[in-house]
């Protein structure tokens, strides 16, 4: 079995079958991660290049480990020390890397659509590791994997996504993916960060946190990016926490067996309180582990895609 496309640019264009295939394949890779020898020979001789135009610790490390555990060679191109500072365009940089023999190019870029652009212009498999405010598909896939693992299925679950939906590529990928799998999505946050137009994608929009959290099976909190502060989206981080921060008291509005998720990095005391982040309902660290399995599955399945 393989994915229908040579690239993974987003969940918007991924079929439900393909999403399920990735999730099922990831379960097999999670077995591998539990062993003493956490490496399999499946993609020996292939090369993965991480091309990151934005800072990243967990996603880049996760992709690097995933690629290494499949036995591919991995090269990390850090843009600040590359020809990009000499004025090379994205396309030229990527084509140069492809000419060196890269099979997989994992790209993160501040511009929405960067991954699509490369996918159209390259023969290598392009994997989107976050493009602007558009999509971050592997994060949403690992979220879906975690939900399926813990709750059995996604269909019918009420998933509350709280925070900066407007700028969040994680939220967008999750909205596309979870909707396809039949979840009911509630978006919660200040009106400046959760415009009503998001309702057109399927979810319902709430500005009152307690109301939005009611009966939620999953609460996904998003990072409030500090660079947004002082730009008029909300008065202060203190006030944000007061209105939309996830606290153990607020969590009581949700279902008793609610699961708390966060894509990281967290700002404790801004979007989530420490007792919730470290509490028994939190699966935040398991999300990180599952991310590795999901990224292995994506690399593996793309390597078989028809050109």
């Amino acid at each position: 079995m393989s994915l229908r496309s040579k690239d993974l640019t987003g969940l918007k264009d991924l079929s439900t079958d393909d999403i399920n295939l990735i999730i099922e394949t990831a379960a097999g890779f999670k077995d591998v991660l539990g062993r003493d020898i956490k490496k399999v020979p499946a993609l020996r001789g292939r090369t993965t290049v991480n091309l990151f135009y934005e800072p990243s610790t967990r996603t880049r490390t996760s992709f690097e480990l995933a690629a290494k555990r499949l036995s591919t060679d991995v090269i990390n191109v850090s843009v600040s020390t590359s020809s990009v500072v000499k004025g090379e365009t994205l396309k030229d940089t990527a084509r140069t890397i492809e000419a060196l023999g890269a099979d997989f190019i994992v790209v993160r870029h501040a511009c929405s659509g960067a991954a699509h652009f490369l996918a159209d212009n390259l023969g290598s498999s392009v994997i989107n590791a976050g493009d602007g405010t558009n999509e971050h598909p592997t994060q949403a896939l690992l979220d879906i994997f975690t939900i399926k693992e813990k709750k059995g299925s996604v269909a019918g679950l009420k998933v509350a996504i709280v925070g900066d939906i407007l700028h969040s590529r994680v939220a967008k990928s999750n909205i596309y993916g979870l909707t396809k799998l039949g979840a009911e999505i509630k978006l919660i946050g200040p009106p400046t960060l959760v415009p009503l137009c998001f309702g057109d994608l399927g979810p319902s929009v709430y500005y009152d946190m307690d109301e939005g959290l009611k009966d939620a099976d999953i609460v996904m909190t998003l990072r409030i990016q500090s660079e947004r502060q002082g730009k008029g989206f909300f008065p202060s981080t203190d006030e944000y926490f007061k209105n939309w921060g996830l606290t153990s008291k607020r969590l009581l509005k949700a279902k008793e067996d609610v699961m708390v998720m966060h894509p990281g990095p967290m700002n404790r005391g801004v979007e989530i309180s420490s007792d919730v982040a470290d509490g028994e309902r939190s699966v935040i660290l398991e999300q990180v582990t599952n991310g590795l399995a999901v990224r292995m599955a994506v690399l593996y399945l793309l390597s078989g895609a028809k050109q």
Binding site: T25, G28, D31, V32, R35
Partner: protein
């Protein structure tokens, strides 16, 4: 024209005989673990285990081994082999692992299975049990326990269908 090579009774007899051979060769079943190769081998491994358990009066551990990530044709195929679960009920270190598959053909699956098992630990020995050996080996591999040797030509297919999959127990040559 499909030809029935083994029926329900034949399969049962083959499992019984192989069980006795496994006990004889290993002088008991004290440190045996059966590892069924996904998917066809898993059912056969469970049947062998229950028969062995009946004869020896003890429970035999059965593991599930997926070999997709160890196959030698990953870079040649257009479609990737489906990755399934691998699960061992115990640490395999120091155990005698009997790999179990339904059909032995080129031997390439068994080569992959040996690599997969070695990544899980260091068994004291690895043996091979197959329900059907149809010949045409491409690697120096030989089964220790064989249900039935069936000479075939390369354009034929040997299909093992089992009640675990909701079908009537049968081995068919097509």
């Amino acid at each position: 024209m499909p030809k029935v090579l083994l029926d329900k009774k034949d399969i049962e007899r083959a499992i019984t005989r192989m069980s006795h051979e496994i006990i004889e060769k290993n002088k008991g079943v004290s440190s045996i673990l059966l590892a069924g190769i996904q998917r066809g081998g898993v059912h056969i491994a469970r049947r062998l285990a229950s028969k062995l358990g009946l004869i020896e009066g003890t429970e035999i551990p059965v593991g599930i081994l997926d070999i997709a990530l160890y196959r030698d044709d990953i870079n040649v195929r257009k479609e990737q082999p489906v990755v399934r679960r691998t699960h061992m009920p115990a640490e395999i270190h120091g155990l005698k692992v009997v790999l179990v598959d339904d059909v032995l053909f080129t031997g390439r699956s068994i080569r992959a299975a040996m690599d997969a098992i070695m990544d899980l630990g260091r068994p004291s020995a690895v043996q091979l049990a197959v329900l059907v050996d149809r010949g045409h080996r491409e690697l120096p591999i030989k089964a220790d326990f064989v249900g039935k040797n069936i000479p075939t030509s390369l354009d034929e297919t040997v299909r093992v269908q089992l009640s675990e999959d909701g079908l009537e127990d049968m081995v068919v040559l097509e």
